[in-house]
Symmetry: C2
Subunit: 338 residues, 2 copies
């Protein structure tokens, strides 16, 4: 088998000789993303130590580093862990509260105050507090990273951060919610009605009991808000996104579109010049690169000098999203050994 | 109009207060890529100064920085410029010699010896000397960057460098040559024969008088060699790539494939585990994300823990490729003011 170590990296040349110690992480949430992140650290033998975890049912603490699936035998709340445990970064893998961004927003502020970096898979704090958090992070000389909030394992934010110096992105279009895209795909390809396709999405675990986040466009609007703020530098708020969901779409409308060579997709788009952002069903030519099927996500970046390019992949999944969290954590500066 | 400045960047927090001076660049070659790079520096007001240029017809030197399209009134060869001009980086925008990698390979070595960083749009030195150059760059604590060698403006190498810590890429597939893809698209969609489609590609400026680089798979094999070495860390040589071009494909074979729901594409692929790399015509399902039309390029990365994702865009064009060169140059550390 060929070597599994990271490739001889393009552009890497720093010949640092200071011994570094592993990054110590406080983890909030232990659902699919948090647990997979913890397991990936072990699987990949990454220089990261999870020194404390808090989830709804309890907390676990070990300054030497916790094994995955520890006993949650403490009742220390996450805010207290952040206040009291020695660590380098706070990783927010809590469920997103799209309405308020809490508790992630307050926890991120508390973490910066303690001198921690913040990596979040939770969209809430970024959707509701990007400008604030970016300012606080800057003032504290700490990093705020949130690659996992948009597009799961698909590179979105980091891609633009590193790849597009001198070539600004002027517009973004995309399909940012896999669940609604799965439903539309079943309607388009198999003539199902919305209700039946939603039921199937539930059975497959793609849709939650209350599907409103997905099918009414809230989730896509949250991700679009993040892209607009972080990639375009357009300071729109969540409430500014024009939003229309897919509940009203009929299989008949779908069939008519298909006969004309189109698909109906829930398209998110934002333009730097106008600052306008919307999430709504749109007709997309069947052969367009934006017309991806099933649970795929797609993001198209319109750059000022380099044309457009498009990134496609699975936008969700605990393991996939955890890879984005890990990449963000591994990009943080590691402290020298004491 | 919304601000054109770079967006409030995800993850940026360094509050450096040391005044930095512009990067001084020696530019080799002044064709479409070199000239567009020079013009983009001005258009984008980037902190980069082109202090010397050498092209076949002469050289231009101005330590205060040359304007685009200067008078090439010197006859100093590029190697002498690298030996004698005070600069921070050498940018290789020379035409690629796919057989030898020269003169880019020797010039890059000379540049490192002088303490310059090297950014190249020229595939030659990377295809023929990646391991050597990476080692020399590392020893000199200088950077070697070559985003522009693969996929024009599409992020390929930088994307993986920054986005995939902890989640190695195990395989790559792609369409890496826009000219041959244009020809195949005309054959597939319009029933043209190879010769007629090639003629049209020539008329449109997509194909050169001698089309062998494009239609016999040399160009795609060169790019695949770069991806294999730099992204997968698989040390294949250019000659190791199994290579078959598209001259033998008939419109009849194309039609049969199409009737079965397939397209014929010149697919490049490499696998980390086996180390096997090939460029050859393959049947691709019409609805696959790898089936892109016209002059588009596509690269699909199979990651170990995060599934696959696919990047699509224009893989060529002077302006597009120049954006990748500029991004690489802007990623170099800027020296402090004297």
């Amino acid at each position: 088998m060929a070597p599994a170590s990271p490739p001889a990296a393009h552009g890497q040349s720093s010949a640092s000789s200071v011994p570094l110690r592993p990054l110590r992480v406080i983890l909030g949430g232990y659902g699919q993303v948090g647990k997979n992140f913890h397991e990936l650290i072990q699987t990949t033998n990454s220089p990261v130590r999870v020194v404390a975890i808090a989830r709804r049912a309890g907390a676990a603490i070990d300054e030497k580093g916790l094994e995955p699936n520890p006993r949650f035998d403490r009742d220390t709340p996450l805010s207290t862990l952040i206040e009291s445990i020695e660590a380098d970064a706070f990783v927010d893998a809590l469920p997103t509260d799209i309405k308020s961004g809490e508790p992630g927003l307050s926890l991120a502020k508390a973490a910066f105050k303690r001198g921690l970096h913040v990596v979040t898979a939770d969209k809430g704090p970024i959707v509701h507090g990007f400008a604030d958090l970016a300012r606080i992070a800057h003032g504290a000389d700490r990093q705020l990273r949130f690659e996992a909030t948009v597009g799961g394992a698909i590179p979105t934010l980091n891609l633009v951060e590193h790849g597009f110096a001198g070539n600004p992105v002027d517009g973004i279009q995309g399909i940012l919610n896999g669940t609604s895209n799965f439903i539309l795909t079943r309607m388009l390809e198999d003539g199902m009605e919305f209700g039946a396709a939603l039921e199937e999405a539930r059975e497959l675990g793609y849709a939650e009991a209350d599907p409103t986040n997905d099918v009414d466009g809230w989730d896509a609007a949250a991700k679009l808000t993040i892209l607009a703020n972080a990639v375009l530098g357009v300071p729109i708020r969540f409430a500014d996104v024009e939003r229309q969901g897919i509940r009203e779409i009929t299989s008949r409308a779908m069939r008519i579109a298909k006969d004309e060579g189109y698909a109906v997709r829930l398209l998110a788009s934002v333009d730097r010049e106008t600052g306008r952002a919307s999430v709504r069903p749109r007709l997309i030519p069947e052969r367009s690169g934006l017309n991806v099927g099933g649970v795929l996500n797609v993001v198209r970046y319109r750059t000022r000098y380099g044309g457009s390019f498009t990134v496609t992949g699975r936008g969700a999944g605990g393991r996939e999203t955890a890879t984005a969290v890990l990449a963000d954590v591994l990009s943080l500066p590691r402290p020298p050994q004491a």
